[in-house]
C-alpha cells in the first residue's frame, strides 16, 4: 500500500517536474527566440512602431500685388478624416455632417460607407468651421472621425485677378493654373525630413525627435498687378458685359515704359477659394489664351511701318472711295467720310480703303517685317505658360493682294489682347517694345531677390511713335474713338471691330463681332496703355449705334478704367499746376 502510494507520489513529482521542465524549456526557447534568433527583427519592429520618418511640409510662398497686399496666402487649416470601419451608421453620420460641411449628403454617405480604414471627409476647413464640426460630432456622439492639420490656400480678394493668379490642387497644394502653376517651383519651397519617436497615443516623445533636414519655406512672388486698378478694370468690364450681353471679355492695363502689367482681366472669372462654383471654362485667362482678329486696331502697324519707311507722311493724301474691290473681294468703309483723306484722317476715320492703299505702297515683305517686329505671331509675355502665339502666316504664305489687304486692316491675323496691348505700348514707349510681364520679383526666404528683367527691342523710331500718338489722339478727338475721351486727361487710341469667324459655318458671322479699343493715356506723356476686348457684344445705344462696334462698347470701358487708374497712379490732370 505504502509502496503504491509512494509510486503515485513519485509519479506526480516526476510529472510535475516534467511540466516544470517543459514549461521552463518553453520559456527558455521563447527567450532564445526573442532575445537571440529573432532579436534583430523584433527590435526593428518595435523601433518601427514608435519611430516614424516624417516629412515636414514647406509653407507655400505668398503672392503679393505690387503694393504688398496678399493675393494668395497659405494658412493652416484642418481636414476632417474618418475611419469608415468604425462608423456604425454612415447614413446617419452623413445626415449630421452634410449641412455643417456644406457637402452633398448622398456623396458623403457613400464615402463613409465601406470597410476602408481611412477617407477624407472634408478638406480646407478653416478654424471657425472646425469648431462647428467638432460641436456637431460631439453632440451626435459620432465615432471614427478626427482632424488632421492641412494647409489651405486662400485668396483674400476672392475672384479678383483669379485667372491670372491661378489655382492650386486641393490635395498636394501644387499649382495647376496661372502664376500658381508658372511659379510653382519657387512658391512650393522644399519639404524637410525628421525622425520622431511617438508613444502609443501618437504623441511625440521629448528628446525622441531628430531633425534630418529643415523645411525651406517657398519664395514669395510679387506681381506687377495693382489691386485697385485691377478692381476697377474688372468692375468696368463686367458692367459692359452685362450691358451688351457679351459672351465675355478681357482687359490688359500696362505701363508702357516698363512692360509691367497693372491689371489683367478675364471674364467670366472664378473665385479660387470657392471651388464649388468653379466652371472649367472660366479658369482660362482670355487675355493671353484667346486669339481674335484685331480688326482696325492693327491699322496702327500698317501706318507706323509706312511712316517709318518714309512711304507716307501724316499729310499724304489718298483717294478714299467708300469701297474698293480686290481680286473679287469688296472692302468697304463704315460710315461716310471725305473722298480724299490724309493718312491722319484715314486713321481717325478708320478707313479700310485708305489703309489698304497705304499697305499697297508699303509692300508685303516690309509690312510682314513690322508685324513680326511688333510681336505678332509669337508669345508676348514672360510669365504665362500656354500663352497663345496668335496667328501670323509668313509672308511667303500670303495668298496675294486679298491677303495683303486683309492683313492691312487686321483680318487674317490673330492676336491676343496682351499682344495688341504690347503693340500700342511700343508706340507709347517711343517705339521700343518692352516685354510685358506680371511677375515683378521673387523674394526667397534667405533675402535673395530676383527681379524680372524684360527684353526690349527697337521697332520704330521715337519720331514715328510720336507721330502715331498724335494720330491716335485724333481718333479720340475727331474720329471713331470719341467715346474714350476723358475730360481730365488727353488720351489717344484706336477702335477695332472684327467679324467673328464661325468655324462650323466656315464663314464670317453677320451678327457677332469682336469689339476692341486700345488706347494710350495721357497721350503726351504716356503712363499707361489699356486694351479692352468684348466678345460678341449685342444691342444698341440710345442713338441707335450698334454695340457690336468697338467704338460703342469697348471705348467707354477704356475711358472708365483709365480715368480711375490715372487718379490712382497720381497722374496730375490737365490744367493742374503740375502740368
Amino acid at each position: 500500500m505504502s509502496r503504491t502510494s509512494f509510486r503515485f507520489g513519485d509519479l506526480r513529482v516526476v510529472a510535475l517536474g516534467l511540466v516544470f521542465v517543459l514549461a521552463w524549456a518553453g520559456i527558455g526557447y521563447r527567450l532564445f527566440q526573442v532575445q537571440g534568433a529573432d532579436a534583430a527583427e523584433l527590435a526593428q519592429r518595435g523601433f518601427d512602431q514608435r519611430v516614424r520618418h516624417e516629412t515636414i511640409p514647406a509653407k507655400r510662398g505668398t503672392i503679393f500685388d505690387r503694393d504688398g497686399v496678399e493675393l494668395a496666402v497659405t494658412i493652416l487649416g484642418k481636414a476632417l478624416v474618418a475611419d469608415p470601419s468604425l462608423i456604425d451608421d454612415p447614413a446617419d453620420a452623413a445626415a449630421v455632417l452634410a449641412p455643417v460641411l456644406d457637402a452633398d449628403y448622398v456623396e458623403l454617405a457613400k464615402r463613409l460607407d465601406g470597410d476602408g480604414r481611412f477617407t477624407y471627409v472634408a478638406r480646407d476647413l478653416e478654424n471657425d468651421v472646425v469648431a462647428d464640426v467638432e460641436a456637431v460630432i460631439e453632440e451626435a456622439d459620432l465615432i471614427g472621425f478626427s482632424f488632421e492639420d492641412a494647409p489651405i490656400r486662400i485668396y483674400p480678394s476672392g475672384a479678383l485677378a483669379a485667372p491670372v493668379i491661378g489655382l492650386t490642387r486641393s490635395d498636394d497644394g501644387s499649382g495647376i493654373e496661372g502664376i500658381e502653376s508658372v511659379m510653382d517651383t519657387e512658391l512650393a519651397g522644399r519639404p524637410g525630413k525628421r525622425v520622431v519617436e511617438r508613444d502609443q497615443a501618437g504623441r511625440a516623445i521629448p528628446q525622441g525627435e531628430f531633425l534630418l533636414e529643415s523645411a525651406i519655406r517657398g519664395s514669395d512672388v510679387i506681381l506687377t498687378l495693382d489691386r485697385g486698378i485691377q478692381f476697377v478694370a474688372e468692375q468696368s468690364l463686367q458692367s459692359a458685359i452685362d450691358a451688351t450681353d457679351a459672351l465675355g471679355g478681357s482687359v490688359v492695363v500696362m505701363d508702357p515704359r516698363t512692360g509691367e502689367i497693372l491689371a489683367m482681366v478675364s471674364l467670366p472669372g472664378f473665385d479660387g477659394t470657392d471651388r464649388s462654383t468653379l466652371d472649367p471654362a472660366s479658369i482660362r485667362n482670355r487675355a493671353v489664351t484667346d486669339v481674335h482678329e484685331p480688326g482696325s486696331t492693327l491699322k496702327v502697324v500698317t501706318v507706323a511701318a509706312a511712316l517709318e519707311e518714309g512711304v507716307v507722311r501724316p499729310d499724304t493724301p489718298f483717294e478714299t472711295p467708300q469701297e474698293i474691290e480686290i481680286v473679287g473681294e469688296t472692302y468697304t468703309d463704315h460710315g461716310s467720310h471725305p473722298s480724299v483723306m490724309t493718312v491722319t484722317d484715314i486713321v481717325a476715320h478708320s478707313s479700310n480703303v485708305g489703309t489698304i492703299k497705304i499697305q499697297r505702297q508699303l509692300g508685303d515683305e516690309v509690312h510682314y517685317r513690322y508685324l513680326d517686329a511688333f510681336g505678332l505671331g509669337r508669345p508676348a509675355a514672360i510669365d504665362f505658360r500656354g500663352e497663345a502665339t496668335g496667328r501670323l502666316d509668313h509672308v511667303s504664305e500670303w495668298c496675294g493682294p486679298a491677303c495683303s489687304a486683309s492683313a492691312a486692316i487686321g483680318y487674317g491675323i490673330g492676336a491676343t489682347t496682351l499682344q495688341m496691348a504690347a503693340v500700342f505700348a511700343t508706340l507709347a514707349n517711343d517705339g521700343e517694345w518692352v516685354e510685358p510681364h506680371v511677375v515683378q520679383e521673387i523674394a526667397a526666404p534667405d533675402g535673395t531677390v530676383i527681379k524680372t528683367t524684360p527684353r526690349t527691342r527697337r521697332v520704330v523710331s521715337a519720331e514715328t511713335a510720336e507721330t502715331m500718338r498724335s494720330m491716335l489722339r485724333g481718333v479720340v478727338e475727331d474720329g471713331t474713338g470719341y467715346r474714350a475721351d476723358i475730360a481730365e486727361f488727353p488720351v489717344g487710341g484706336k477702335t477695332g471691330t472684327s467679324d467673328k469667324f464661325d468655324v462650323e459655318a466656315g464663314e464670317y458671322s453677320e451678327t457677332e463681332t469682336t469689339a476692341w479699343f486700345i488706347g494710350i493715356a495721357p497721350i503726351d506723356d504716356p503712363a499707361l496703355v489699356a486694351a479692352v476686348v468684348l466678345d460678341a457684344p449685342q444691342g444698341k445705344l440710345a442713338d441707335d449705334t450698334e454695340l457690336k462696334f468697338g467704338g460703342a462698347s469697348a471705348a467707354p470701358v477704356f475711358a472708365e478704367i483709365v480715368e480711375s487708374a490715372l487718379h490712382q497712379l497720381g497722374v496730375a490732370p490737365v490744367g493742374s499746376d503740375d502740368e
Binding site: 504688398g68 493675393l71 511625440a204 533675402g447 503740375d578
Partner: protein, 130 residues
C-alpha cells in the same frame, strides 16, 4: 601575581577595531557619493525631460503664433478687399462725388515714390515673416 594572572589583553581585537574605522568611512563616503550621483543623474534627467517638454510646448506656441500671424494677415487682406469695401460703401449709401476737382497742394510730393522705395518695407517684411 604572575603575568599569567592578568587578563590577556586582546591586542589583536583592539587592533582590528582600530583598523576597521578607516575601511568603513570611505565605504560610507562612496555609498553617499554614489547615492548623490544617482540622484544627480535622476535630477538631471528629469530636468532635461522637463526642458524638453518646455521646448515642445514652446514649439507648439510658436506654431500657434505663426498660424495666428498668417490668419491675421489673410484676414487683413480680406478686410481690405475692394469688393468688400465697395459693398460696405454701397450699404452705407456712399457714392462717388459728381463734381470732382483736382487740387494741387504745393510742397507735397506727387506719388508715393519709386518702386524701390515702395518695396523697401515689403522686403523687410519678407525677411521677418515666419
Amino acid at each position: 601575581m604572575t603575568a599569567g594572572a592578568f587578563p590577556r589583553t586582546p591586542v589583536g581585537r583592539i587592533d582590528r577595531k582600530r583598523s576597521s574605522r578607516p575601511v568603513v568611512r570611505p565605504l560610507v563616503i562612496f555609498v553617499v557619493a554614489v547615492t548623490i550621483a544617482f540622484f544627480a543623474v535622476i535630477y538631471s534627467r528629469i530636468s532635461l525631460d522637463r526642458t524638453a517638454f518646455e521646448l515642445q510646448q514652446l514649439d507648439r506656441e510658436i506654431a500657434v503664433e505663426e498660424q495666428l500671424h498668417w490668419d491675421l494677415r489673410a484676414e487683413h487682406a480680406r478686410l481690405q478687399a475692394p469688393d468688400r469695401i465697395t459693398q460696405r460703401a454701397a450699404e452705407l449709401g456712399l457714392v462717388y462725388p459728381v463734381d470732382q476737382r483736382s487740387i494741387e497742394v504745393t510742397g507735397v510730393e506727387r506719388g508715393v515714390g519709386g518702386p524701390e522705395d515702395r518695396l523697401t518695407d515689403l522686403r523687410a517684411l519678407f525677411t521677418e515673416q515666419p
